[in-house]
């Protein structure tokens, strides 16, 4: 087990390293380099930057300095927001995104798993068909469509929900809905097919023959096995939620990291882009790592390699 964890950890570290390297060299391919602000930077700040990142040294030396800085959690100053460092911005903005994201993930799980089960248990009936149709359509609708259409209907047309910011619980409804829409429908499909698979297994018949009640066999035998595919989907779902937050935060003007990233792209705040990319990539890789390990723990049938 520990060998497996170690191997995974090495892979994760390697991936983060690859991302950091790619980020550095891609940003250095930008004419003028990533440290070049359009105009607004003062000579002192520029001198400080040059000293800090060793810009007078050869590229490889700069790369090493940059890696060292990252390891110390230092992503440099923001080029557009005077006097603030990138890590400072990330640390103030990320909790907002994380809150919306975690709520969305929970909503997808809480809604998706039971609905998928219900569909599987009513296989072929009207309720099952309805759920399948909705889930099939749900997978095809991009998040920006859910975002903008729900904003139009509930925010602008009906005026039920506020459209901007995150001041009350009502503000969370639409962003969470938009972010969890796709994962929920995906989980429903996943859960339904897994559940159908499990319900046809021999041990379910054995349980029934033993006289285990329907509910008990459902929770003790079926659900525990059927939920495994959903666990594997956790990693991709988190990644989806993170990238989905770019759109959602842009549309609903939420002061989170996703919206910040999008505006740093249009502002060409290269330091901010680099920092956020590495931060988010590390986060995603870490989540995937944890999910992988957890999966091996809860499913003993999987052989450890």
């Amino acid at each position: 087990m520990s060998k497996y964890i170690l191997k995974r950890l090495l892979m994760a570290v390697l991936t983060v390293f690859v991302v950091a390297t790619l980020t550095f060299f891609l940003m250095n391919a930008v004419p003028g380099g990533p440290y070049e602000a359009e105009k607004s930077i003062s000579p002192q700040a520029k001198a400080a930057l040059e000293a800090k990142f060793g810009l007078d040294q050869p590229l490889f030396q700069q790369y090493l300095t940059y890696l060292k800085n990252i390891l110390h959690g230092d992503f440099g100053p923001s080029l557009k927001q005077r006097g603030r460092t990138v890590i400072d911005i990330i640390l103030t903005k990320f909790p907002v995104s994380a809150k919306v994201g975690i709520i969305s993930v929970l909503v997808s799980l809480i809604v998706g798993i039971p609905v998928g089960c219900v569909a599987a248990m009513n296989r072929g009936k009207a309720s099952d068909s309805t759920i399948i149709v909705i889930a099939t359509i749900g997978i095809a609708v991009p998040s920006f469509v859910v975002c903008s259409l729900s904003m139009y209907f509930f925010g602008v047309k009906l005026r039920w929900l506020p459209t901007v910011g995150l001041t009350s619980w009502k503000n969370y409804i639409m962003p969470v809905f938009s972010l969890s829409f796709y994962p929920t429908t995906y989980i429903v499909r996943l859960m339904r097919s897994a559940m159908l698979d499990v319900l046809g297994q021999d041990y379910m018949r054995t349980a029934k023959a033993k006289g285990v009640s329907r509910m008990a066999s459902l929770f003790r035998h079926a659900l525990r096995n059927a939920v495994l595919p959903v666990v594997t989907y956790l990693g991709p779902m988190m990644a989806y939620t993170l990238t989905g937050s770019f759109i959602v935060e842009k549309v609903f003007t939420i002061p989170g990291l996703g919206g910040e990233f999008v505006s740093s792209i249009s502002n060409r705040d290269y330091m901010m882009i680099m920092g956020t990319t590495i931060f988010l990539a590390t986060l995603m890789v870490f989540i995937n790592f944890v999910v992988d390990i957890v999966y091996k723990f809860i499913d003993p049938r999987i052989k450890l390699k």
């Binding site: 690859v18 095809a140 991009p142 469509v145 602008v156 759109i247 792209i265």
Partner: protein, 346 residues
Amino acid sequence: MNKNPLSLQLKAEDFLPASQEEKQGLVVMRDSVSFWKDSLRRLVKNKVAMVSLAVIVIIMFFSFVVPAFYPYSYEQQQKGAENLRPMTYSQAEQERIAAGEKITPHFLGTDKLGRDYAVRIMVGSRISLTVGLVAAGIILIIGALYGSIAAFFGGWVDIIMMRIVDIIYTIPDVLLIVLISIAIRVPLENLANAPGMRWLSTVGPNLVSIFIVFALLYWVGMARIVRSQVLVLRESEYVTAARALGAGNGRIIRKHLLTNCIGTLIVTTTLQIPSSIFTESYLSFLGLGVAVPLPSLGSLASSAINGMNTYPYLLIAPSVLISLIILSFNLFGDGLRDAFDPKLKK
């Protein structure tokens, strides 16, 4: 002659060669059904898949053929025709109609620069479809070759190649697309100014960077699937036979291994189209897609958000269309999968 039925005496006429009719009468086999015919038959029976295919064909017709004949072009700005509602005419157009001229109505109105929205939507879906198809093609070629080479040679070649796949698999794609599109924007703009490269500036560096990223990252899923198929196939007898007859590695991969997992290849490629369209529309919505004035469904929806209170149809039309495109490709892909590999059907 001897009439005894139990006699073993042989009759000479029993040994005459059979006539053509007699031969035909003994053939009990039907015409052999080829893999393609069999799959096609299953596909045609699948109503959902056929309806999706029809929708795809109609959308393709409207996005690739109709704009060429349409009286308006996607970038033509008409003065005085800004922000028209659907089916209404501008002042100038009304006068021309009064003068007896026949004018195509703006089926979806016009945008704030006076461009006909219907044709912009058509061209926008053309971009989406092109991205989907081209990306799927790139992914098919790279993924299939990479996966089959890794599986065919096995051993340390396989290990190294699949470790690379593992790493690429975990790199967050959207982040990398953003980075690459920022990094290659200026070099591509310079390249676009070079003679013979005009098309680059029409398409826009962002779109090119999307293709580059698809080519760099998205083939890994395909490579994994092809690898697992080839791992099974390479143990089969016909590969041994081909080898015994002196076929080289390249020939075996091309003629035997890839042709035998063609069903999987087709299905995976088809299902890759909607996901590429998905990514493209996402990036366009963030402003990282095609260059203005070229529209894409994502960028059309994005720019319609600010005016959604007054002009909701500008938002609803591209949103519904992109969902419809992705849905049809998804359903058609599912149908293909059921047709090519009925065992996979759940």
